[in-house]
């Protein structure tokens, strides 16, 4: 009796061990990281699921479904993948930019064997240049100075500016959805895109338990969902 119990226990153990070995895949272990850039400068976007992404396609494994790689606030991305060959595609209308050639449909082939870092050049409609933020303790306000450069100049593709925002948040993730204070200027009222000044009051709630705030500039481009952002800058209160 005891013997048969031992045998069956041993058999079960053996089966269990064998099963584990057979049917589990290893987790994807290759890191694919990089930035979305224009002339080497990362493009700031709103981060979060359902916001800005590009697609990676891998063929040869049954049904074709893209892997959506989401872009973080500072323009970086990272994905855990298997080694192999992928095609990278910018979906139409995603992001405050056009693919490098200005038209959609061109894919880039990426071969992964071991972790890799790669930047992708795009053509943003605008670039936020020389963004400087200054905090004034006297009237507890943040002043932003910046210029906007028009990058897409082709008359068929050019888009106007709908609104320019100055946003302020207690945490580094700051965008039109997550902010404590925001102020905006209508695109129509802009006379020049150079040396802009925008000012925002830091709300009183920021002074309770916070030593710093984060400020960021956002540009809503007419007819484009995703806004263009500057990098979020930390401001000591």
């Amino acid at each position: 009796m005891k013997k048969s119990f031992l045998y069956s226990a041993g058999l079960l153990l053996l089966l269990g061990a064998a099963a584990c070995k057979k049917d589990n895949y290893t987790a994807p272990g290759t890191d694919f990281t990089g930035h979305i850039t224009y002339q080497g400068e990362p493009i700031g976007v709103q981060q979060g699921n359902g916001n800005v992404y590009f697609e990676l396609w891998q063929s040869g494994y049954g049904k074709l479904t893209p892997i959506n790689v989401y872009i973080a606030q500072d323009g970086s991305f990272s994905a855990k993948l298997y080694d192999g060959t992928y095609r990278m595609d910018f979906p139409t209308g995603q992001g405050p930019y056009l693919p490098p050639g200005g038209h959609y449909g061109d894919t880039t082939t990426i071969t992964l064997s071991g972790s890799k870092s790669q930047d992708f050049e795009v053509m943003p409609y605008y670039m936020i240049r020389n963004a400087k933020f200054a905090f004034s303790a006297a009237d507890s306000s943040i002043t932003a100075t910046f210029s906007l450069d028009t990058i897409v100049k082709d008359p068929a593709l050019v888009k106007g500016i709908e609104k320019v925002y100055l946003l302020e948040n207690a945490q580094v993730i700051s965008d039109l959805q997550y902010n404590v204070a925001a102020t905006s200027v209508d695109g129509g009222s802009l006379t020049s895109l150079q040396n802009f000044n925008m000012k925002i009051k830091v709300p009183a709630s920021q002074y309770q338990g916070h030593t710093a705030a984060f400020a960021r500039i956002g540009v809503k481009i007419a007819g484009v969902d995703d806004m263009l952002y500057s990098q979020a800058e930390k401001i000591n209160l």
Partner: protein, 644 residues
């Protein structure tokens, strides 16, 4: 002798066995009917048609899986600004900013990510229609059945175009030849305008083969064909007119978007179809209870003898086909089970109902000096407004099924401090002046499911009959797909867009007179904003808002992802483009001042339910729903929709 008998019996057995062998495999099946048998009997064909009717695309399969707004799917009405979902599992509807690109997607039973794309149903309809020449049933029945199937097919194409734009138009059943090459079955998408043209021409072709009467509103009639034609033409017209304002939603091949030059043609078709329907004189606005206009408006939806209903999805008690709208949404005071109160209309909606002098004003909660305005009765704040308000929404103090609702958020002391409670019908002894009820039996209680969290309950489609709130009985109130008032509003919009504001004013005023407005609108009053407003208040909770906002191309302006303030909710009420991203409520309080005349009077506060955390964000990619990757993989000729 005995031997001979055995031989004879054996031989007979063999002989009989051989004889029946020939028919052995020739039994006709007793559990299915063949095509030929069905198509020889009118009744059998009708039962095939009944199945096709049942698959009409206003809702899809089980309520838990479908995302279409319908009586079986109350929570879908809480996706935008019309209402708040007071059920813990549905709070996500007010906590996600971005709208999924697949919205309105099907449920998981149809594959996780797919919008409405039902070529199985279309194939069955095409098979049905292809029997026209071979059927041996009587000519009269056959003509009507074929017209009905073509009506349903037009409905499917219209519903698909509403969601994804142009789709492949398939009008004959396709069959695979097992050659290993399926490319001849793959069709590219037609232009969006071609789908609308197809729908309009089909309905135009069949309308005279359908009966023109009120006998059976769950089957297609001439009125239903005209109503659908009118709606489809209006949609196409507005997509053509406003499409250019959102160029990012247009595909170069015309699969989405319609050239602006076609707008007038569609508006003319819409107006013509509407006027033909009006000219039939079969339908009219419901006015049976003209002594109480709010009750009259509520009865439009529950009275099945209403001359206003053109085409409906019908239900019947004790038949297995019942709906649970009243069960889901009954206020606690009148509920028949331990549940209800789920769908809470928003202040955003309530505030836009006009005053009876044709002006807009939010509910007055403060006096001019900033002090709270006190009312003798809770309903007084809504007095003198559009009768449709109380026909659509159960406001504090209104009654349902003979029970007066008990909606009370707390007592306000003269210094502004509030005494409230934490449970339904909570009582407290305030300042030693005696026990008082501090929370109504119906709520409002923030974050407590099945209580009202906005201060309102839904009235539209609520069944006042006993048993409608019982799980075992439920309701047979029907879901109206087309009704006469919508046709009038369609006609008004088409006339306005064609530069005939006086005609538009007349149609609008007919609808408004039924709602209690004494002063008709003049031609100068009719604007785009006015038309948008009228549709929002007349057709709230009828599944129109999302598609209307899309076709006017203002969805991305109204649901722009930016948070609202309590001031935004009640300002700029007549503006069609006012931001409407978060649901607000209006809670009733009572004034605590024992011994004075003001004790127990009612005052109101604007509140945002704490479960509302995000602002609805409609993106360019939402103007046309995403086509599932499976469909794209199976048919490489299908092009993707923009911005996805």
């Amino acid at each position: 002798m005995k031997k001979l008998a055995y031989i004879l019996i054996g031989g007979a057995l063999c002989w009989s066995a051989c004889k029946s062998d020939a028919d052995f495999l020739q039994h006709s099946p007793s559990n299915i009917l063949t095509d030929d048998q069905v198509w020889a009997h009118s009744d059998l064909v009708l039962s095939v048609l009944a199945d096709l009717y049942d698959r009409y695309p206003d809702y899809n399969t089980q309520s838990n899986n479908a995302t279409a707004q319908s009586l079986e799917n109350w929570a879908e009405f809480a996706n935008f600004d019309e209402a708040f979902p007071s059920e813990a599992g549905q709070y996500y509807r007010v906590q996600n900013a971005n709208l999924d690109y697949f919205y309105p997607q099907l449920g998981y039973s149809n594959g996780p990510y797919s919008t409405y794309w039902d070529y199985n149903y279309l194939r069955d309809l095409n098979l049905f229609i292809s029997k026209d020449s071979s059927a041996t049933i009587g000519q009269g029945d056959r003509t009507r059945y074929m017209a009905e199937a073509r009506f349903l097919r037009a409905a499917v194409y219209f519903e698909e175009a509403k969601r994804v734009g142009g789709v492949p138009i398939i009008t004959a059943p396709m069959t695979y030849d097992y050659s290993g090459d399926p490319t001849y079955l793959q069709h590219p998408r037609n232009k969006e305008s071609e789908v609308y043209d197809f729908v309009i021409s089909e309905l135009e072709a069949i309308k005279d083969s359908l009966p023109n009467d009120l006998n059976d509103r769950s089957r297609a009639s001439k009125g239903a064909a005209l109503a659908m034609e009118c709606r489809a033409a209006l949609y196409a017209g507005s997509i053509a007119k406003f499409g250019a304002t959102k160029a990012a939603a247009m595909l170069p091949g015309g699969e989405t978007g319609i050239p602006a030059s076609m707008a007038d043609g569609y508006y003319q078709k819409a107006l013509k179809a509407a006027q033909e329907l009006i000219g039939l004189n079969t339908y009219s606005l419901y006015t049976k209870k003209s002594d109480d206009l709010s009750d009259n408006f509520a009865s439009v939806f529950t009275d099945k003898s209403s001359p206003e209903t053109i085409f409906a999805k019908d239900y019947k008690l004790k038949s297995g086909k019942v709906e649970g709208w009243t069960l889901s949404n009954s206020p606690r005071t009148s509920q028949e089970e331990q549940q209800g109160g789920r769908l809470n209309p928003s202040l955003n909606l309530v505030a836009i109902f006009e005053k009876l002098d044709n002006t807009f004003a939010p509910p007055a909660i403060t006096n001019t000096d900033g002090t709270p305005k006190l009312y003798d009765k809770p309903q007084d704040i809504f007095a003198g407004r559009d009768a449709r308000l109380e026909g659509t929404v159960i406001v504090p103090g209104a009654s349902f099924k003979g029970f007066t609702t008990d909606i009370l958020a707390g007592w306000v002391r003269p210094d502004g401090s509030i005494v409230s409670g934490t449970k339904f019908g909570d009582t407290k002894d305030i300042d030693g002046k005696g026990e008082r009820e501090v929370v109504g039996v119906d709520g409002p209680l923030d974050g407590i499911e099945l209580a009202t969290q906005t201060g309102f309950f839904i009235r539209k489609y609520m069944d006042p009959s006993v048993g409608s709130g019982r799980i075992g009985t439920q309701s047979e109130v029907w879901w109206i797909r087309f009704r006469y008032a919508e046709v009038l509003l369609n006609a008004a919009e088409a006339a306005f867009e064609l530069g005939q504001p006086a005609v538009a004013a007349d149609y609008l005023s007919q609808v408004r007179a039924r709602a209690g407005f004494k002063t008709p609108l003049t031609a100068a009053d009719v604007t785009f904003d006015r038309i948008v407003h009228e549709r929002k208040v007349e057709l709230a909770f009828e599944g129109h808002e999302f598609y209307d906002m899309k076709r006017w191309r203002i969805a991305d302006v109204v649901w722009n992802g930016q948070k609202m303030t309590a001031t935004d909710v009640v300002s700029d009420l007549s503006n069609a483009k006012r931001i409407n991203t978060q649901v607000y409520g209006l809670w009733p309080y009572r004034y605590f001042s024992p011994g004075t005349a003001n004790d127990g009077k009612w005052l109101y506060k604007v509140v945002k339910p704490s479960r509302v955390t995000e602002a609805h964000n409609f993106r360019m990619g939402n103007y046309y729903s995403a086509i599932s990757q499976d469909i794209l993989n199976n048919n490489p000729k299908i092009v993707k929709n923009p911005n996805q």
